[in-house]
Amino acid sequence: MRRYIARRVLWGVALLFICSAVIFVIFYAFPSADPATLRAGRAATPEQIERIRHSLGLDEPIYTQFWLYMKNLVLHFDLGFSYQSNVPVTTLILDRLPATAFLVVGAAILWLAVGIPVGIVSAVRPRSLLDRTTMVTTLALISAPVFWLGLVALYLFADDVGQLLPIFPGIGSYIEANTFLAKAESLILPWIVLAAASAAIYARYMRSSLIDTMSEDYIRTARAKGLSERRVVMRHGVRSAVTPIVTLLGLDIGTLLAGNAILTETVFNIPGVGRLVATSIERADLPVIQGVVLFGAFFIITFNLIVDIAYAYLDPRVRYE
């Protein structure tokens, strides 16, 4: 077991190194715009641009640049400075991360709490009225774009513009919230909006996974042993059916932390990592974009690692590979 984890961690580190190299090549070797020109601003003379190019080290060969970038990253946890604000990239990202993490973790708890039970109930009675209703509802939720769902939620429930039940804090309330509780309250609508599609996807996934599992031979054995149907489903069925969900969850949390919550963050004006990426792309702020992408890779790799380890705990067959 320990060897298994050690192997996975080493592999994760190697993967991260490869990712940084690829990201570096994409952003520095094939830049969409010349960073020095961007940095210099409008009406800069060619000499000024050259000076900036030199001071940023952009006139060095690419391997030297990469070496310096990696050295600063590994030794000083330094991802460079924003072209726009001169603030260290790591500071920018770490400032934004708590909001994103709060948003994502809360939403994940919500979609698991809703999606898994709904999936189980639908799987136990496939084709029933309840099953059909939930499956149509989930399809609608999956099809609804987040930005649209967010606006609808605000239009109906936000305490400033809400038309139906104006009880939840609306746009920008997260920035004004100071206490943990106030922040949590301001995230209620974003949580629901971000969780909606995932809850629907998880419900469908859980349903089909459990339906598959329920036709396994060992489920027949469990029934032949005289176990109650409840125990057959919950202990023998769900136990197996939930393992693929773990994979999905790891990937989803990883990508959302990496900036995939961008739409929700934009609609509700939550100062998270997604918003940071959006503004950095608008301004071609390369070091920030690169830093966020690298952070994203880190989260995705880390959560994959967690998934692998969780798998070993869930499935005894993995432990002895």
């Binding site: 060992y218 027949r220 054995t221 032949a224 042993k225 005289g226 136990r239 067959r317």
Partner: protein, 345 residues
């Protein structure tokens, strides 16, 4: 007096393609301590009939009719909760593939203990001690250590032993073994069968042994049911089935057993044609379309009854007279199905 008496059992599945008549007019009984072999090819309804005994085929699209009397109660009339008390307790079942039939995420010990604690009010520790004892009884070496192993850490034969241990956990009166050795290699197969025999002698339970292998039945069963396309076509003691078979399908099965006097280049005899679709089984005798001896009367369903003189316990479903049967079942000097001359009408 029978331990289990199945009468006129019908099991129909409503599928998108139509109604599958998986089990049709099946009646048989089994006495305490007896071993009943049920033989037939895949899809003949032998597993479905037995799973129905335990209510395992119940579902919104299944229609079940008939009676299954066990110790004075009709299992088909029992509600889920009542039937649960019988399953794994008085009637236990083991299945074909022990790897897929055991839950991959729980240890062998867990699975046996669960079976015990479902029906008996015993402590975890006592149930575990019993699980170890059971594993020892079915011949798993070092049961104290192996009780915590997972199914994938057992070999095929050991897994089936563990399955048997689990089935025997509550001293069942009847054990239904659904092709228990099909997924195992031949040596392991023999060991498992002799283990079953041995346990049966010691514990005095009745065993229904479902198989497609006549050889397995010959060595282990007291009585044999031959099933074809959802119906029992012949029911008799082991000697009657092997030496005085009454139904042409049984002749075909016996004739297709490999024999040592076959020449190296001879083709293995087989029954021409395929079993009928149970979505639309043929009128009358289900074997009619493959039978070289079919005649007009075969358009009516022959009842399962004693048809050979002096053996009332030997029943079959074939309209041919006893004399005709004894003459026609000889093909190339041994029992077998003759080749068809012209297509049956």
């Amino acid at each position: 007096m029978s331990l289990l008496e199945v009468s006129d059992l019908h099991v129909h599945f409503d599928t998108d393609d139509g109604v599958v008549q998986a089990v049709d007019q099946v009646s048989f009984g089994i006495a305490s301590g007896e071993t009943l072999g049920i033989v037939g090819e895949s899809g003949c309804g032998k597993s479905v009939a037995n799973m129905t005994i335990l209510g395992l085929t119940r579902g919104p699209r299944t229609t079940i009719a008939g009676r299954v009397m066990f110790e004075g109660a009709d299992l088909l009339q029992m509600g889920g909760e009542e039937l649960r008390q019988v399953r794994g307790n008085e009637i236990a079942m083991i299945f074909q593939d022990p790897l897929s039939s055991l839950h991959p995420f729980f240890s062998i010990g867990d699975q046996i203990t669960e079976s015990i604690r479902t029906h008996r009010d015993v402590s975890r520790a006592n149930a575990r001690a019993r699980a170890i004892e059971l594993l020892g009884m079915v011949g798993v070496p070092e049961p104290r250590r192996r009780v915590d192993d997972y199914p994938h850490e057992f070999s095929g034969g050991m897994r089936q032993r563990a399955m048997i241990a689990m089935a025997l956990a509550n001293d069942p009166k009847l054990l239904i073994a659904d092709e228990p050795t099909t997924a195992l290699d031949v040596t392991t197969q023999a060991q498992i069968l002799s283990l079953l025999q041995d346990l049966q002698d010691r514990l005095g339970m009745a065993v229904i042994l479902i198989t497609h292998d006549l050889g397995v039945v010959a060595e282990n069963a007291d009585r044999v049911l031959v099933m074809y396309a959802g119906r029992i076509v012949e029911d008799g003691a082991i000697d009657q089935i092997f030496y005085d078979p009454g139904h042409p399908y049984t002749w075909g099965l016996l004739g297709s057993l490999p024999s040592l006097d076959l020449h190296p280049h001879d083709r293995l005899p087989q029954i021409a044609g395929l079993p009928p679709s149970l979505l639309a089984p043929p009128q009358g005798c289900h074997f009619r379309e493959r039978c070289p001896h079919a005649f007009d009367r075969c358009l009516q369903v022959p009842p399962l009854e004693a048809r050979l003189p002096d053996s009332p316990a030997h029943r079959d479903r074939c309209w041919l007279s006893a004399e005709q049967k004894r003459e026609l079942r000889v093909a190339d000097g041994r029992i077998g199905l003759r080749e068809r001359k012209s297509p049956a009408s």
